[in-house]
């Protein structure tokens, strides 16, 4: 008998022979098995309190494609643990059928083909429909936004985040925490936060001068719901002034501050909280560790590292709920809180299939209103892609390869560096590339493309430093994000080594020569955290490059050799 797995392997081999990617027909057939809105929203209401979690939307108002990573290496105690399991192994772990909606939403593999079958994901008008449906079941559900909301698109950049503020306010969140929001600059963040109709939380947002909590960002908010008291404590991204330009928000200090987190948990318990929820932008592994260091947290709603898992992970006595990114998922967590404690929970990670979930008319109109002044600029077609363009993964993605190529050719450099951020939707083969698409993967308030010289020795220092921010075995030293992307430069990385010993075999790809530590190389890059960086905006560099190419075709990159994983 031929099993489905065998069938897929046969399909893969056959399609490889004719040069097509994946097994397209089969995916379309699977997708056609009716997926309905009712199915996606189906939930047996449970207990007395509901939490709704969205996070890392990165200003994606409209539906997009988003490929989950095929490479997400775990280190130390998290080696081989979720979310560091990808592709077929991930599906095996959770019993997800190949070609199923969950395969497409949660894992990599055969992405382009499945994307054609299942269509786009996200869109805040669809997210609104999901939220309203949950509120129909539980009118006093608590909606929590994990941050990275006011960053990541053309309209968000042009309006200094106002488009996202307007649309999110229409969803009536109860609280929010922060990361990229601060790259709008402290004046703008302060201006928006002062007028927010909901709580802006961060127990780890401190005044830099006095090293004390700020008034603008209280540590927590207490909610009276379902006959009980629930405290929501905010945890902003701990490494903001290190991973992003600190000079843009010099008044604020961050850090993990788990001793203050413990103090806040104790304080809300003393004030009668029967359930403690942390709305976190720590990143998954940091949350997992924090749950073992700080006692008394019931639920961590986890953001920053963009992971999406079909069920919560238990760390100590805390459940951790990661809810993906880019508007692709909404988490619903129902809690049964009685006699001063959490008695049980029910959870669903709801994938927002844009073609299945009906857009909410009111929010759809509001989104159109935000975009209307920019329609012509947004929709201008710059080129086309024959290949899948994606970013997520620990090392190079095809979008980053294209950006690095643009830097090498447009800035006449030998080596290109591109930041290992995790935001940026995907494009599938055959799609046109619009200006909006380019902004979706490059938009930021410090996007100038520098051109400079670096010695071989300094390049190694840069690679070692960034690698340790990702692969340090202690999660508290990890900043999230992925490895800096390189163009024109190949190297070997041994994940298991300490800082200073991970990177070897650095090669200038153009000539095949080994990088000389004492020679200077012309390097182009973008997203420098230093004040006063000069150069054209990265989106203009990429746009010029794509215009010249006309049609983009990418090849698999093998410039990074990974060992010790």
């Amino acid at each position: 008998m031929i099993s489905r797995r065998d069938f897929l392997q046969v399909g893969m081999a056959a399609s490889a022979v004719v040069g097509a990617s994946g097994f397209g027909n089969w995916a379309r057939l699977a997708a056609q098995q009716a997926l309905t809105q009712d199915q996606l929203l189906e939930f047996d209401t449970f207990g007395n309190v509901s939490l709704i979690h969205v996070t890392d939307i990165h200003a994606q108002l409209k539906p997009i494609y988003f490929r989950e990573p095929s490479e997400n290496i775990g280190v130390g105690d998290n080696r081989g643990a979720v979310p560091h399991v990808t592709g077929a192994q991930f599906r095996k772990l959770y019993g997800i059928a190949d070609g199923s909606p969950s395969h497409y939403a949660l894992s990599s593999g055969d992405f382009s083909s499945l994307a054609k079958g299942y269509g786009r994901v996200g869109g805040l008008d669809r997210v609104a429909t999901v939220i309203k449906a949950i509120r129909a079941d539980r009118p006093d559900a608590i909606l929590l936004d994990g941050g990275d909301t006011w960053h990541g698109s053309y309209t968000c950049y042009k309006t200094d985040g106002q488009d996202m503020v307007n649309v999110m306010n229409a969803l009536s969140p109860d609280a929010m925490t922060f990361h990229w929001e601060f790259t709008l600059g402290s004046d703008r963040v302060t201006e928006i936060v002062e007028d927010l109709p909901f709580a802006a939380l961060g127990q780890n947002i401190f005044d830099v001068e006095w090293d004390e909590p700020t008034e603008l960002f209280p540590p927590y908010k207490m909610f009276e719901r379902g006959g009980t008291r629930i405290a929501v404590i905010g945890q902003a991204f701990p490494y903001m002034p290190i991973a992003n330009p600190g000079w843009m928000f010099p008044e604020f200090a961050f850090g993990i501050r788990d001793e203050n987190m413990q103090a806040m948990v104790d304080e809300v318990r003393a004030e009668g909280a029967e359930c403690v929820v942390v709305l976190s932008h720590n990143g998954f592994d940091v949350d997992k560790k924090m749950a073992t260091v700080v006692s008394g947290i019931d639920v961590i709603l986890s953001g920053h590292t963009h992971d999406a898992l079909p069920e919560p992970v238990l760390s100590g006595k805390t459940i951790i709920v990661p809810s993906g990114s880019n508007g692709k998922f909404v988490s619903r967590v129902d809690l049964d809180i009685r006699n001063g404690q959490l008695m049980g929970y029910r959870h669903k990670l709801i994938p927002v299939f844009s073609d299945v979930i009906e857009p909410d008319a009111e929010v759809a109109a509001l989104i159109d209103e935000q975009r209307a002044p920019y329609t012509a600029e947004l929709s201008e077609v710059i080129g086309k892609t024959d290949s899948l363009l994606y970013r997520r993964g620990n090392f190079n993605g095809t979008w980053d390869d294209l950006i690095c190529d643009a830097l090498l050719s447009e800035r006449d450099a030998e080596i290109a560096l591109s930041p290992g951020v995790r935001w940026g939707p995907s494009l599938i083969p055959g799609q046109e590339i619009t200006r909006e698409d380019i902004f979706n993967v490059t938009s930021m308030t410090y996007g100038k493309a520098y051109r400079t010289e670096m010695t071989g020795e300094f390049l190694k220092v840069v690679l070692e430093d960034v690698a340790d921010n990702i692969f340090n075995p202690d999660p508290y030293y990890q900043q999230g994000g992925d490895m800096v992307r390189t163009g024109g430069l190949g190297y070997r990385i041994d994940i298991a080594q300490p800082q200073g010993s991970r990177i070897s075999n650095m090669t200038l790809l153009k000539t095949g020569e080994t990088i000389d530590p004492s020679r200077s190389y012309v390097v182009a890059g973008w997203a420098s955290v230093n004040e006063g960086t000069e150069g054209p905006q990265i989106w203009d560099v990429v746009e010029n490059h794509i215009r010249k190419l006309g049609t983009v075709t990418t090849r698999p990159s093998n410039s990074v050799e990974v060992i010790g994983a």
């Binding site: 890392d56 990275d148 990361h179 990229w180 090293d211 991204f237 701990p238 490494y239 903001m240 002034p241 290190i242 991973a243 992003n244 600190g246 200090a253 961050f254 850090g255 993990i256 001793e259 990143g283 920053h304 590292t305 963009h306 930041p419 290992g420 951020v421 995790r422 935001w423 100038k448 520098y450 400079t452 010289e453 670096m454 010695t455 020795e457 300094f458 220092v461 840069v462 070692e464 430093d465 960034v466 340790d468 921010n469 030293y477 900043q479 999230g480 994000g481 992925d482 800096v484 800082q499 200073g500 890059g525 997203a527 420098s528 955290v529 230093n530 006063g532 960086t533 000069e534 150069g535």
Partner: protein
């Protein structure tokens, strides 16, 4: 204006001063020597002193450090990667209500901050925190 490490590494400017960011602190033995001198080689306990330091410094030039050491008569702070590791000694009299302090120190590179408390009974307690000083620049 002070020249910070961050500015030395300024990606936007033309040249770079090479910093040995990733090498092990060369001054760790100085700290060991200083600690041995302080304690006279006595055994050190752990747990009675709490040292609070950031895991990663936001600015190596001014890193907030705090300690709380109930029952301490004297607490000495060391930064084992600095050319001069001895940072400060805090002395507490019998009438001191709290035996803690907070200050800011400059860290040249990734290193350990070490606090040694001499307790009122003459015994010694130690706490250590590794503080990373990094280039940064790639957030999710």
């Amino acid at each position: 204006m002070e020249m910070t490490r961050r500015k030395l590494l300024a990606f936007g400017s033309g040249t770079f001063v090479l910093a040995t960011l990733s090498s092990l602190p060369a001054f760790a033995t100085l700290t060991d020597d200083a600690i041995a001198e302080l304690t006279g080689g006595a055994d050190m306990g752990e747990g009675a002193i709490t040292l609070t330091a950031p895991e990663i410094a936001e600015n190596g030039n001014t890193v907030p450090i705090a300690f709380d050491a109930p029952g301490a008569a004297e607490v000495t702070l060391f930064a084992d990667g600095n050319p001069v590791p001895n940072v400060a000694t805090f002395k507490f009299g019998p009438l001191s209500a709290s035996r803690g302090a907070s200050t800011r120190i400059r860290l040249a590179t990734t290193q350990n901050v070490v606090a040694i408390a001499k307790m009122e009974d003459g015994s010694f307690q130690m706490a250590k925190a590794n503080v990373k000083v990094t280039i940064g620049g790639c957030g999710g």
